[in-house]
């Protein structure tokens, strides 16, 4: 098991290097000179040249890459030339918003998707199963910007139960914080539960055909025990993958949802950085988000081993 973890951790290194390369070079391909952007319209060629020299922009791109990477390895991701804040400070400010949104959205999506999947699999082919499979397919085709606007219309505008936009930090007022996050996380959960349900439902239907389920029935176990103890665990590998990918994706913020609901998360930070050409912030945030995604996948791999002892013992 220790060997398994160590080997997976080693795999992370080349992936992270690739992420840093892509981040840096794609950002440096953006049109326009950073020095001009910083100095604005009034810049004289002398000022620009001085700033370029100062920032190392006159150096070849691979030397700049290694300089950037070297600083990062020492914990220095750079500093925004607009706000003066370091990348790490900015991310630390925004990350809790995105993480809270991500966690609530996942809880919602799993809370809707998993029970429905189990009921559908247990009664596969029945009217409830067919109805839910159809509903899931329909929900899968609804874009988040549409469901967000509909939710705002019903719950904020018509019923006035929840605020439409805005944010209060959790530490300031936990209840208000949750009220602001209900609609955004519901929007994301509505987009994600159908895939969770479809995947778990079909895996579970396959599992229920297995010999060991027939034996579990022949042993006289209760239907609930067969579903939850015998069938759910071996059916949840794909579910874990999907959830892991969803979480990894949402670490980078939910750009659309954060924008619609005016949540100060990573997604809006990225959009802001792109619109204002804040290259340092953009590079740093994309790298951190990429690293988060890769690490999330590593955790998913570890969860496989927890779920299936054959992977744990290196048999599969």
């Amino acid at each position: 098991m220790l060997l398994f973890v160590a080997r997976r951790l080693l795999y992370l290194i080349p992936v992270l290097i690739a992420v840093s390369l892509l981040t840096f070079f794609i950002a440096s391909l953006l049109p326009g000179d950073l020095a001009y952007t910083i100095l604005g319209d009034q810049a004289t060629p002398e000022n620009v040249a001085a700033l370029r020299k100062d920032m190392g922009l006159d150096q070849p791109v691979w030397i700049r890459y290694f300089g950037w990477l070297g600083n990062i390895l020492q914990g220095d991701f750079g500093r925004s030339f607009r706000t003066g804040q370091t990348v790490l400070q900015t991310v630390a400010e925004r990350l809790p918003v995105s993480i809270e949104l991500m966690l609530l959205a996942q809880l919602g999506a799993l809370g809707i998707g998993v029970p429905l999947a189990i009921i559908c699999a247990a009664r596969s082919g029945g009217p409830f199963d067919r109805f839910m499979t159809g509903t899931a397919f329909g929900m899968l085709s609804v874009p988040t910007f549409l469901s967000a606007i509909l939710l705002i219309y019903f719950f904020a505008v018509e019923l006035r139960w929840l605020p439409a936009t805005g944010y209060v930090p959790f530490a300031e007022d936990p209840l208000a914080n949750l009220r602001f996050l209900v609609l955004p996380s519901l929007t994301l959960a509505l987009a994600e539960w159908p895939s969770i349900m479809r995947v778990l439902r079909s895996d579970m239907i396959a599992t229920l055909q297995e010999d060991y389920i027939a034996l579990a029935k022949a042993k006289g176990l209760t239907p609930a025990r067969i579903l939850f103890v015998h069938a759910l665990k071996p059916s949840s590998l794909t579910l874990v993958t999907i959830t892991g990918i969803n979480i990894g994706r949402l670490i980078g913020g939910a750009v659309i949802v954060e924008t619609i609901f005016a949540l100060p998360g990573i997604g809006r930070l990225l959009i802001g950085a792109i619109l204002t050409r804040d290259l340092i912030i953009l590079q740093g945030v994309v790298l951190l988000v990429g690293a988060g995604f890769v690490i999330m996948n590593f955790i998913v791999d570890m969860l496989y081993a927890v779920l299936d002892p054959r992977i744990r013992h290196g048999h599969a």
Binding site: Y212, A218, K233, H315
Partner: protein, 331 residues
């Protein structure tokens, strides 16, 4: 048949809808098993023997249609409400499946799979159930049973897994054990061990047993009665000694002839049964074995022989030209 009848299968029919039409997997089968007795059900693959066992256990596929009566211990299993059926399964009616590689849950420990059965049916606390599980594993010949409880099925060999499956089946002292090809998936060297283990535990626990197999060699000497199945029907049924002394149905004879013999000269060709079993979605008008039977005459193709007793009441067969008659004709 002496003693009380524990299981009686009466006129059971199993139909499976398939894209090619209705498949009659079990065709009007009658069987009985007395308490503490052993019945062997023999036939080649696809003859309906597994479907028959699944019908008894009520584990048929959802789409299957089942009719007839399955009387077990005085109750008709087909009429039993699900909750009562559940309390019976694993408690007084247990099963060992063919393939121990797939019949144990890969993500649960051996201990969990044993203990859950015990605690479902018997009032046992964790300590007592664990103790009982260790005893059961020891009884089926598993070395170091305490350590096995924490292991997963993939950490055990096929033979050991089948022993675990047998321990699970025996755990609540069932009245009837159905062993569906219990040795087919195992190495030849293990097969006799598993069969001997089943026979020993059966005697010790006074339970009845149904051994389902395609191998007449497995039922010889290990069963009280044998039923030979072909194309969903029982075609010959007799007390084991009587059957091996004088088989009447040509199919039974062909099945026995198809077994390799140790004392045969090298390179003796095996007399395989030519042809294939009839397509179960297109039932024949006459005897379903007639296309492959070397004794078949015109009548066999047009009329279905009934399962009838001959000189002794216990020996029944479904054939117009049972084997002895041919011998007479040749003499």
């Amino acid at each position: 048949m002496n003693g009380n009848i524990l299981l009686s299968v009466e006129d059971v029919v199993v139909d499976l809808p398939t894209p090619r039409g209705n498949l009659r997997a079990v065709d009007h089968v009658d069987l009985t098993v007395g308490a503490g007795r052993t019945l062997g059900v023999v036939g080649e693959s696809g003859c309906g023997k597994t479907m028959l066992s699944r019908a008894v256990l009520q584990l048929l596929p959802k789409k299957a249609k089942l009719s007839g009566r399955v009387m077990f211990d005085g109750q008709d299993l087909l009429q039993l409400p699900p909750e009562k059926l559940r309390k019976l399964r694993g408690r007084s009616l247990a099963v060992v499946f063919q393939d121990p590689m797939t019949s144990l849950n890969p993500v649960l420990t051996i201990g969990t799979q044993l203990i859950e059965t015990l605690q479902e049916h018997l009032e046992l606390d964790d300590a007592a159930a664990t103790r009982r599980s260790v005893e059961l594993l020891a009884a089926v010949g598993i070395p170091a049973p305490e350590q096995r409880l924490a292991q997963y099925p993939h950490q055990l060999s096929g033979g050991m897994r089948q022993r675990v499956a047998i321990a699970i089946a025996l755990s609540c002292e069932p009245k009837l054990l159905i062993a569906d090809e219990p040795t087919t998936a195992l190495d030849v060297t293990i097969q006799a061990q598993i069969l001997d283990l089943l026979a020993r535990e059966q005697r010790r626990r006074h339970m009845a047993m149904i051994i389902i197999t395609h191998d007449l060699g497995v039922v010889a000497g290990r069963t009280d009665e044998v039923a030979v199945m072909y194309a969903g029907r029982v075609v010959e049924r007799a007390p084991t000694p009587a059957l091996f002394k004088k088989m009447r149905m040509p199919y039974t004879e062909a099945l026995l002839a198809a077994l390799p013999k140790l004392d045969a000269a090298p390179h003796t060709p095996l007399p395989a049964i030519s042809g294939r079993p009839p397509d179960p979605t297109r039932p024949l008008r006459g005897c379903s074995f007639s296309p492959r039977c070397r004794y078949a005459v015109a009548r066999c193709q047009n009329e279905k022989p009934a399962l009838e007793a001959a000189e002794t009441k216990a020996h029944q067969f479904a054939c117009f030209h049972p084997i002895e008659d041919h011998a007479d004709a040749n003499a």
